[in-house]
């Protein structure tokens, strides 16, 4: 089923610890994921399964992760290339893109998670 969410992006400790090592699998493990509370996540599949996040600005495949702290309908993707595939580029007249508060739809998927290199190659 399709889960409708409000998407936010931001820092995590593992994202930060691998930020200078973006070609590594550790960086992908740390950032190509989407956190939902167990109730929302349960509608999509088991933690660790692949999900596709779609917004008006793009779509990206990431790994499903549970986070008990998220309220219902709030999705979190760590900042980085996977999150930025779907954020709102509108700077709202002050230079800041919409990295938080993006309406998104999430589905389970069998598609694979792109490597950072492959993800950026889509833009060329």
């Amino acid at each position: 089923m399709t889960l409708k969410v409000n998407l936010i992006t931001g820092r995590t400790i593992n994202q930060g610890a691998t930020i200078e090592n973006k070609t590594s699998s550790d960086y992908q493990e740390a950032t190509a994921l989407c956190e939902l509370n167990p109730k929302d996540a349960g509608q999509l599949g088991k933690p660790g399964s692949n999900i596709k996040v779609k917004t008006a600005y793009g779509e990206v495949v990431v790994k499903l992760k549970e986070n008990n702290g998220n309220p219902d309908g709030l999705a979190f993707i760590p900042m980085g290339p996977w999150a930025n595939a779907v954020v709102d580029p509108d700077t709202k007249g002050c230079g800041m893109p919409g990295f938080k508060g993006i309406p998104a739809q999430i589905d389970a998927t069998s598609e694979k998670i792109l490597l950072m290199k492959e993800l950026i190659a889509r833009y060329k």
Binding site: N6, G10, I13, A17, L74, P81, C94, G95, P97, G101
Partner: protein, 432 residues
């Protein structure tokens, strides 16, 4: 073996100053006292060995000499009508000075990672000023500590331990027990789990909640609805009472405010609340800056150009108008025709629309590591790591300037050396 004590950390805006770094044969073998972020940064890993170039961005890079790469970068930038020079936050102030000079020579735009971080805070501070204090003041005095829209456990792991919550202070005899910690956020983070009080607001309603708190503080609770941003009115009234009871309150805020609905108006409103609390007791507010020297590029740009971010030299004199001149404005409008990415990673941290434009235009990257910007670059120039292999000045998140030492000798040239050479070549090319 060399033991460097009281070393400074070049990762986040905390710039922790109590690290011990062990060096053997010019290699760092151990870092003590740092958090996971600091250890990863200082220990480092495999680097870009030599400068690289390619004409086709879908093609492979070819290793070239530093002279060839510098020449190509200078030609690319000198030919550009609207170059963007972005990043700077992971470099020292000495690098910023050279970067501003190069941008001025080019008539380009210089912008820092604040553009996607605390840029709105700069605008909010322009509107209202900022009642603030050093982290040391807050450590020694703050008995009420508020984290609003920030998660230091993840983003600034030693902030609470080194400065804001756990240490004993001159007037804070029992450390953590002498402080009340309040977290306001949209989800219950690990920071929220450590708080005495957690207020969960609906995402995008911070402005409303701040306005409600200001109304209650002004004695106008009657006009506040039963719930604001999902927070019951009683909880807001209780929060105002807690805030007012402080002897010294310290408020820290992050991207939860700068990137959510309202953007800079959230900061404006938060500063207004803090200003008004100062009618009752002492309050200060501090943005939780991300990169260790993102505050530094703001400082250097302010004293060199008059503005802290998004400065456009196209008119010959500095011009600044985020919304028009910030990186994602000019990339989103596909206005930029060449870019230099240095000490920041636009490829990873800009929205897809901006990265798509970077993929279309000539890009030179100056960085120690291969990252997402490398993927869209034509010329890549590897450099020494500021704060580890290069000494210099940086500004902590509270705008205290500190001197970082060299821990090991670099194998690569410094950012300053590269920028000086590019600038020299740009002057010659433009002069011809």
């Amino acid at each position: 073996m060399t033991v460097i004590t009281d070393a400074l950390c070049p990762f986040c805006g905390c710039m922790c100053d109590d690290l011990t770094v062990i060096v053997e044969n010019n290699k760092i073998t151990e870092v003590k006292n740092a958090c996971k972020l600091g250890v990863a940064k200082i220990m480092g890993h495999h680097r870009i060995k030599a400068p690289m170039m390619r004409t086709d961005k879908k093609g492979e890079f070819k290793e070239v000499s530093y002279d060839e790469a510098i020449e190509a970068a200078a030609q690319m930038l000198a030919k550009s009508k609207r170059p963007l020079l972005y990043g700077w936050a992971s470099a020292l102030c000495e690098v910023h000075k050279k970067g501003i000079l190069l941008t001025e020579e080019l008539g380009g735009i210089i912008d820092s990672t604040a553009s996607v971080c605390h840029g709105p805070s700069v605008l909010g501070i322009h509107e209202k000023g900022i009642p603030t204090a050093s982290l040391g003041q807050a450590k020694n005095r703050a008995d009420v500590v508020v984290f609003w829209g920030c998660n230091p456990v993840h983003a600034h792991p030693r902030h609470m331990g080194h400065y804001s919550v756990f240490p004993k202070g001159f007037f804070i005899e029992k450390g953590r027990k002498s402080r009340k910690v309040i977290v306001v956020d949209v989800r219950k983070t690990e920071t929220a789990n450590m708080a005495d009080e957690y207020v969960q607001v609906e995402q995008g309603t911070d402005y409303l909640v701040l306005s409600a708190l200001r109304a209650i503080l002004a004695g106008q609770a009657a006009v506040v609805p039963d719930a604001v941003g999902g927070v019951p009115k009683e909880a807001l009234v209780k929060l105002v009472d807690t805030l007012k009871a402080a002897r010294f309150g310290a408020v820290y805020f992050g991207m939860g405010l700068t990137q959510s609905t309202g953007r800079y108006k959230n900061i404006d409103n938060a500063i207004s609340l803090i200003t008004e609390l100062n009618a009752f007791t002492k309050y200060v507010i501090t943005p939780m800056r991300g990169h260790y020297n993102v505050a530094g590029i703001g400082q250097v740009m302010t004293w060199e150009t008059g503005y802290a971010t998004a400065v456009d030299f196209a008119r010959g004199a500095p011009y600044y108008n985020p919304g028009e001149t910030a990186s994602n404005d000019v990339l989103g409008r596909e206005e930029v025709d060449a870019a230099m990415i240095i000490a920041g990673d636009a490829g990873a941290h800009f929205p897809a629309k901006s990265v798509r434009h970077l993929a279309k235009i000539p890009v030179v990257q100056i960085d120690p590591y291969w990252n997402s910007s490398t993927e869209v670059a034509n010329v890549v120039i590897p450099v020494a790591i500021c704060g580890v292999e290069v000494e210099g000045t940086a500004y902590r998140m509270d705008n205290v300037s500190l001197r970082l030492r060299k821990m090991v000798e670099p194998e690569h040239p410094t950012d300053v050396e590269i920028l000086e050479k590019i600038t020299e070549r740009v002057r010659k090319i433009k002069g011809d």
